[in-house]
């Protein structure tokens, strides 16, 4: 399951492989012991479809209008401010939810057609769908008979 954890194209930390091994062993012993996500906020997943990419990000508590997305060539930037309400008239027993400004920049494997990008935010999950640029689209080659 989830082999793609081990092949992050952004892993340039020399210690990452040890972390990955530890994580893999944890997963082997107990599937729920593996960390659910990395430390970055928001955590993002990237998928490839037939004609483009789908980027999802977990942003619970934010509404659609609070999220800024920009695309430049093949770089997607997601930013915003997640203000977690903590009462000032009481005491806080536990504060695990991330709060504050965030900005993530994710490089896509190929250039995309930013004009055709569509983003939705439902139940705290952002989903950005963007088709690949024309020159990266799969092409159907007609086979001629001679």
């Amino acid at each position: 399951m989830a082999q793609y954890w081990l092949s992050s194209p952004w892993a340039n930390d020399p210690w990452a492989s040890f972390e990955q091994l530890r994580r893999a062993m944890d997963t082997f012993q107990n599937p729920t012991a593996a960390p659910r996500r990395t430390g970055a906020f928001p955590p993002v997943n990237l998928y490839e479809t037939v004609d483009g990419y789908v980027l999802t990000a977990e942003l619970p508590g934010l509404s659609a209008g609070d999220i800024d997305i920009s695309i430049e060539r093949n770089r997607v930037t997601v930013g915003g401010n997640r203000q977690v309400e903590r009462p000032d008239d009481g005491s806080v027993h536990r504060a695990e939810r991330a709060s504050g400004q965030f900005r993530r920049s994710i490089e896509l494997p190929a250039e995309v057609d930013a004009d055709k990008a569509e983003a939705t935010h439902r139940n705290g999950v952002l989903m950005l769908r963007v088709p690949k640029a024309e020159q990266h689209q799969p092409r159907k080659i007609a086979v001629k008979t001679r």
């Binding site: 599937p31 789908v54 508590g61 536990r94 705290g124």
Partner: protein, 134 residues
Amino acid sequence: MTTENTTDLQTLEKPTVEREGTRPGVVFRPDVDIAERRDEFVVTADLPGVDEQHVQVKLEEGVLAIDGELATTPDAAWTPLYAEYRSGGYHREFRLTDAIDADRIQATMRDGVLTLHLPKTDRHRPRQIAVQGG
């Protein structure tokens, strides 16, 4: 101070228990905030991907259990290229004291965040005692 700390939810959380076979797929422990106000506790849980139809809040024998399932899952036709989080259900439970008025617990779900208001019972609310001059 020699106050009895009977209303502290923090120390009352049960360790996550493995429940094999009862749930399909992986279940994760959601991030929570717990705050205490004068007359209530507020529990806020991040359940990204869960809507009000897929969340269950249950109180049974003094244990408050939060369960969530994803409303939608990623399309199986998509090829994962890179992942920073895994998708699955959520489960977390807390043992409540009798300081909480179980009948008046309120739960709301919005943008993947569950908010629970747990009112304190009347006898656990702080009371101001008027001191009269002799």
